[in-house]
């Protein structure tokens, strides 16, 4: 996590410099972090003698590991290496979030997700947050580039960022993909999952929270589609909603008797 933190700090300097060239230092830092991360995951897997994706902490770390691996592959192309400057702060946030207390619960001899539907429910929802996370990265790129273009900054032209129209399309598509995954995950949770005796959906804070998140993204997509609310507001919406998810997920999880 320290190396992810270093990379995120270094990214601040890259932002100030503008994204003129793919930066090897940042790529190296993230590579180093990924090596530590992989080693830790292996050690954990060997010590428990099974794939370390059994509780929420491990699931989040696994999602983070996948995202870092995707970046490292994409970053092999020097033209796309600048993406690390946007991804590193997100990696740090996700990693810090995974370390929050209460997520790394002990588990018994059997994995907690023994039912297929439960696994699918959790996997789809985690994937949807991954898509929302990527969409917020694209939104950060959009906001940077849009600001530079508005205020006639030289780096708008010098940077390696793609055109803002394409970035907006990327935000929209990733968000729509996340929304579909979230919907599917929630539907599975609501229809096929059996709850323990005496627990209802309607009293569970995480269910309320998930519906709120679902409504937020629905509103963003609907405004974008129906009222042409694109551009800066849409990008801020993507960043804001994901920040909301990041900041409240942990607390809501602890409050939920079903999910805790």
């Amino acid at each position: 996590m320290v190396v992810y933190g270093l990379s995120a700090t270094y990214s601040v300097f890259l932002w100030r410099k503008g994204f003129r060239q793919g930066d090897r230092v940042n790529y190296g830092l993230l590579l180093l972090a990924a090596i530590f991360h992989t080693t830790a995951m292996f050690q954990r897997g060997i010590s428990f003698d099974r794939c370390p994706v059994n509780n929420l902490y491990e699931a989040i770390m696994f999602v983070l590991w996948t995202m870092v691996a995707v970046y490292l592959v994409v970053g092999l192309w020097p033209q796309l290496r600048f993406l690390g400057a946007f991804a590193a702060p997100l990696f740090l946030c996700v990693g810090v979030f995974a370390l929050m207390p209460g997520l790394d619960n002990r588990y018994g001899a059997q994995p907690e997700f023994k039912h297929d539907w439960v696994s699918l429910h959790a996997a789809l929802i985690l994937l949807s947050y991954g898509a929302f996370g990527l969409s917020s990265i694209a939104a950060l790129m959009y906001l940077t580039q849009e600001h530079d273009l508005k205020f006639h900054k030289m780096r708008a032209i010098f940077s390696l960022l793609p055109p803002i129209q394409r970035l907006e399309l990327v935000i929209r598509r990733l968000m729509a993909a996340g929304f579909v995954l979230l919907t599917a995950g929630l539907v599975i949770g609501a229809v096929w999952l059996k709850l323990p005796e005496g627990v209802g959906y309607l009293e569970d804070p995480k269910v309320h929270w998930s519906i709120l998140v679902w409504l937020l993204y629905l509103a963003l997509l609907f405004m974008n589609w129906r009222f042409a609310q694109g551009g800066r507001r849409f990008a801020w919406g993507a960043v804001g909603c994901f920040l909301f998810v990041l900041l409240t997920f942990w607390g809501v999880n602890l409050m939920s008797p079903i999910h805790h």
Binding site: L149, I157, F158, Q165, A228
Partner: protein
């Protein structure tokens, strides 16, 4: 076998003189044949563009008389009878190789760092190669020059950015729109700079061009030239719904487009991004419109400032480029047995 270079360029001679020395492409193979059959050079390439006429030759003649022979050839071939003073430069190794590399990288070009010259140099080399007027020495030098040009392009910022208003506008458009292919451009007011800007956008694939001018005839004439359509000046706003890029350069003494007028038009366009390029003085577009969402307004000073910044950046890169070139030229010259030339053949350009 050392390489020598002789020629004249925009740095040493006016256009009237350069055009007298220029070779038509069809005549170059014949000229190269003459050079070799007279024994002046064993291998030769002639580069003739609007900014320079140069002969690169590889010869066993290590005497300075080679330059006299080459100059005599040049003068006779073009039947030049006027006086010659400092216009023709004569370079021996390693300056000749350094010069070739600089030319390939656009460091010796009128527009610093431009890339067109590399294509012209490749063409000149290819012509000589096809007619078998090059050999191991020039082949190696030219191939190396193309490699150095590529290295300079990727490792330095000498070729990054645009140094003209028109090309800056194109770059801005490319940072806003996914592709220029489907973009509709409107030119309001037909002026020289707006025409150049429109042409630059067209050359990158922008779709239709609409031209609106107070004089409908002038609008029609420009529209025909640009392959677009003329629109009556009073009706340009009606076309706005489909427009993505506006280039405005009218002589109007007041704003022709202000925030109050643009706001409803943006709603009609469903808030798609709009690039406004105002190259008129006094300005045609109220600066306030830049505060509208998805509107990007650039006036002539903004564009010029970007172009100047680019130029400044390119100038700052010269030292880095020259260091790379010097190293590569010495490496190439070092691979050959030393020539008997003293480096007395003067490097003509003060900056080089």
């Amino acid at each position: 076998m050392p390489i020598v270079a002789i020629g004249l360029s925009h740095r040493t001679s006016p256009v009237e003189m350069r055009e007298r020395f220029a070779f038509a492409e069809a005549k170059i193979p014949e000229a190269l044949q003459t050079l070799r059959s007279r024994g002046v050079a064993e291998e030769a390439v002639i580069l003739s563009t609007c900014n320079r006429v140069e002969i690169y030759a590889a010869t066993d003649n290590t005497d300075r008389s080679i330059f006299e022979a080459l100059q005599r050839f040049l003068v006779e071939a073009r039947d030049y009878r006027g006086p010659l003073h400092e216009e023709i430069y004569k370079l021996s190794e390693p300056q000749s190789i350094e010069h070739l590399f600089k030319v390939a990288c656009g460091l010796d070009s009128m527009v610093l760092g431009e890339t067109e010259i590399l294509g012209q140099l490749k063409k000149a080399y290819d012509l000589a190669l096809r007619h078998k007027h090059t050999g191991g020495r020039l082949n190696k030098a030219f191939q190396r020059a193309f490699q150095v040009a590529k290295q300079i392009r990727t490792e330095t910022n000498i070729q990054r950015g645009s140094v003209s208003v028109g090309s800056v506008a194109v770059e801005l458009a490319e940072k806003i729109f996914t592709a220029l292919q489907d973009r509709q451009v409107m030119v309001i007011g037909a002026g020289d700079t707006s025409e150049k800007t429109a042409r630059a956008l067209l050359s990158r694939g922008a779709q239709s061009i609409l031209v609106s001018n107070r004089s409908y005839d002038r609008a029609g004439a420009l529209a025909r030239e640009l392959g677009g359509r003329a629109v009556h000046f009073e009706e340009w706003a009606k076309e706005f719904e489909r427009i993505d890029i506006v280039i405005s350069s009218t002589a109007a003494p007041h704003y022709i487009l202000d925030r109050a007028r643009l706001e409803p038009l943006m709603k009609l366009r469903r808030n798609r991004p709009l690039l406004l390029i105002d190259i008129a003085v006094p300005r045609d577009i109220e600066p306030e419109v830049n505060f509208l969402e998805n509107v990007y307004l650039y006036n002539i000073d903004d564009l010029q400032a970007i172009a100047d910044d680019y130029l400044q950046q390119r100038r700052e890169e010269i030292a880095r480029c020259e260091a790379i070139i010097r190293e590569k030229a010495r490496a190439l010259a070092g691979a050959e047995p030393p020539s008997h030339f003293t480096s007395g053949s003067r490097p003509v350009f003060g900056h080089e």
